[in-house]
Amino acid sequence: MAYIFQQILNALQLGSIYALIALGYTMVYGILTMINFAHGDLFMVGAFFCFLIAVYLKLSFVPTLLLSVLGVACLGVVIERLAYKPLRNAPRVSAIITALGVGLFLENFTLALSPYPKHIPALIADKTWLIGSVSISSLQIIIIALSLSLMLVLDFIVQRTKAGMAMRAISWDKTVVPLMGVPVNKIISLTFAIGTGLGGAAGMMYGLAYPVIDPYMGIMVGWKAFISAVVGGIGNIRGAMIGGFILGSVEIMVAAFLPSTYRDFVAFTLLLILLIFRPYGILGKPNPQKV
């Protein structure tokens, strides 16, 4: 029993990281109908910013988090302005290929600058509590609590503020909304900033939880977060959170009861089966084609 609770805790930790990254995918998709394949690599850049700040500036946890989130958000906005904005009216596939290119660029640029895996120093004093026979570390609590609160803040921004209303309006209709006086470019930049900032936060937490970081770490995690976004229904913010937790728990459960090399195999097979029966994800709405 305790084993199961322990695994649930691990699943929550992994799932909240996936959910944070998936939010970035889904927000950008919702507003631009474009899959930002560079997002997984922005997550990696977040972990590297955290490493740089923690090692060279020797700041503590909170300033490191703020600075790396800010840095990744700025990078996200710059990428959007330079690479994606010229392609807003181009065929959708060219935007996707550009995103793949940006992602490869980030990976290889980081690899060229830092060829060896890096080790993030522990920024949080490691404390472990035992409840029954379930052990909870301070890091786990911080990761889960921080991700959940970030998600709540995001949900508040999107549902309750004026900027959030503008975001939802743009994803609803892109031609009419600018006529209503909504500054589309600013809102898109804001979306990118929030989405990639969340990815950066996830990168930092991932780096703290699994301390060895390398330039290719964003690929697999990024694709998995993308899959979570799709499982939840891409473009749907609450769906992305649910999808992240589902994928995280599936992976942890598979690793708990089967050899851990089967983790990816089972996770992706489940995804395929889900997509065959529910092609639009869990919360996504089917998009019937009009003739």
Binding site: V93, T98, A112, T261, L272, L275
Partner: protein, 347 residues
Amino acid sequence: MPKLKAVYQTLLNKWYAVIAHRFFWPFFLIAGLLFSIAASSFDLIDLYVQLILIYVGINIILTISLNLINGYMGEFSIGHAGFMAIGAYIASLLTVNIFPPSAINFLFPVAVLAGGLGAALIGLLVAVPSFKTRGDYLAIVTLAFGMIVKSGIENIEAIGGPRGFLGMEKLTTLPWVFFWTVLSVWVIRNLVYSNFGRGVLSIREDEIASDLMSVNTRQVKVIVFVVSSFFAGIAGGLFAHALQYINPRMFDILKSTDILIMVYLGGIASIAGSIIGAVIYTILLEVLRPLGIWRMVFMPLMLVLLMIYRPRGIMGLREARLFVPLRDLLAVKFWKQKKKEADDAPA
């Protein structure tokens, strides 16, 4: 400057005359085959250059087969390396474990063919979800498929698991690569310009309309996926026997991204574009090798710039006259003439 343009025009017309000659294709094929046989058996060219040429051929097969799905049919498949892996493993298992070593040279094409057929069989399975899902969701299905293949191979201990598989002889020679490349170009070109191929294009333009025009969209999708994965499997078999070592990580998402880049660099829905894209990408990667890791920084940057300034790639949605059938050329000529007559006639 006008003079240069006139020279270019005459050269272009000469080239059109050459490719329209009925001996052009037989001559090109025989010359290419003879050259490749001579080059590989008498060491006319450097072994390193030969290896690059082999990679160029394999990449052309991969690019052109992916272009069938992504360019002509307008779906977005990101799992092409998965099919390649299946072909590579089946062909290698056959040549290493099953076929007698004495007759291996004669049985090599059978092994490659078996790899292709195995990949085609799996392609059939992947085609089924494409009936219901389109666009991004189909992209996920293919992505997940690629990862399942990689992860599945890693878990089969009998074929080496994550350590990979080795023991193949170097059976992929320049003549074989030439043969399979020409075969794939020929098959896909004829497929695209056939009646069936027009159905494929109509799915890209509007699936519902093409369904209403009595295109059997399900059948078309299945056949396109099967043909495309067949050639990916062939390329995998050739790749395994050129490198003489394969492991599952070679066929991960980065390999699929490579193929995608070649497709979109050359241009979608274009045979000439696929060839140009594969040749440029492969050769550029080799030429820039002295730059070390920085070449991997410049390549994606180049791709991004290309997409911004030329979003459809080099030959996107256009075709070199070399690959257009005479029937279509005559039709274009006829309609141009008609339009000219109509324009000249007083209203």
